[in-house]
């Protein structure tokens, strides 16, 4: 399979991933605890899983809508970028829980976070983390973020209901 290479240096895209990772996890550890360790791991893993899921489905043939980081092959920095998604999932559900967001308020909450995700993806793309191909555009990710975050809220509610019972 032909590998496309975008650059060979440790530069903006790598720094973006590392800085986001460090800032994200620093925030996760500094925030007062709201969840059990098991739940915290679950919410962090969800962020990693959903990032990996899309990076290994729609970014590969036959879809091949984008490449991540320096080359179209799977690199160590790509794996680190999955870890970069983890704090987003955690902080999303942390604030959801902290502000007791329910019912109708959930809708603008998810919309707000999807906009945040698009803005972060925009900067990430500008810095070379993502390389769009085959007609893919930034806003195509918006419904994906909507669904992703909805699933995470469903998981959170299911766990919460399980504890109540």
């Amino acid at each position: 399979m032909k590998i496309t290479e975008y650059d060979h240096h440790f530069n903006a895209n790598e720094w973006f991933v590392l800085i986001t990772l460090i800032l994200g996890f620093s925030l996760v550890f500094l925030l007062p605890r709201r969840f059990s360790p098991r739940e915290s791991i679950l919410y962090l893993l969800y962020g990693m899983f959903s990032g990996k899921f899309f990076d290994h489905t729609i970014s590969l043939k036959p879809f091949d809508f984008y490449d991540v980081n320096d080359a179209s092959s799977f690199q160590f920095m790509d794996f680190i970028s999955y870890a970069m998604y983890a704090p987003f999932g955690y902080i999303f559900i942390y604030l959801f829980d902290k502000f007791h967001i329910k019912r109708w308020v959930t809708i603008p909450y998810i919309l707000f976070w999807s906009v945040i995700a698009i803005v972060v993806e925009y900067f990430a793309t500008k810095l070379g983390v993502y390389h769009y191909k085959n007609g893919y555009r930034l806003l195509f990710g918006f419904p994906i973020y909507l669904v992703n975050q909805s699933i995470l809220i469903w998981i959170y509610n299911k766990i919460k209901r399980g504890k109540v019972h």
Binding site: S36, R38, E39, Y46, H56, K61, S72, F74, K158, I159
Partner: protein, 159 residues
């Protein structure tokens, strides 16, 4: 046709998991699913994309079959194995469960190769045995750590 077959198998395995009485909690099952999924997908991506030992057919039907098999079937089989192994303390039960899971995963892999969804290039079923052995071992290790910890309470961490 092969996609139809694999989606039907996926449905069957999902239905089996749904009907199974699960000793692991919802959270534990999800953690296992995520961890197994990440491990399996990273391993298979390295084998296909980086080192080129396995080639995935590029037709839409084959590619979607591959996705269903890699992203759903393998992690789901490992999840079922984790729940069944935890369900019963008897060693004979655990060994039977692990053997059946191993056999099922190998059978699906054989079918995938036979219908040319994937093609081996400098790869063979001995490596597949080792790879699936590693997946199973990893799955059992994570299950062990999850069940060893016991249930943690939400209330202890509530602010």
């Amino acid at each position: 046709m092969i996609l139809t077959f694999f989606i039907s198998i996926a449905w069957l395995i999902a239905a089996f998991f749904w009907a199974l009485s699960k000793p692991l909690t919802f959270a534990d099952n999800l953690i296992l699913w995520f961890v197994n999924s990440i491990f399996i997908v990273c391993t298979k991506t390295i084998l296909t994309l980086n080192v080129g030992l396995i080639k995935v057919s590029e037709g839409y039907e084959y590619a979607l079959t591959y996705l269903v098999w890699r992203s759903f079937l393998d992690p789901m089989l490992l999840l079922i194995a984790a729940n069944l192994v935890t369900k019963n303390r008897k060693m004979s039960w655990k060994v039977t469960t692990i053997s059946l899971t191993f056999f099922t995963m190998l059978l699906l892999k054989y079918i995938i190769v036979r219908v040319k969804v994937v093609t081996f290039i400098n790869f063979n079923f001995l490596y597949v045995l080792i790879m699936y052995g590693c997946f199973l071992l990893f799955n059992l290790l994570v299950t062990h750590f999850l069940t060893r910890g016991g249930s943690d309470t939400y209330e202890d961490y509530r602010i």
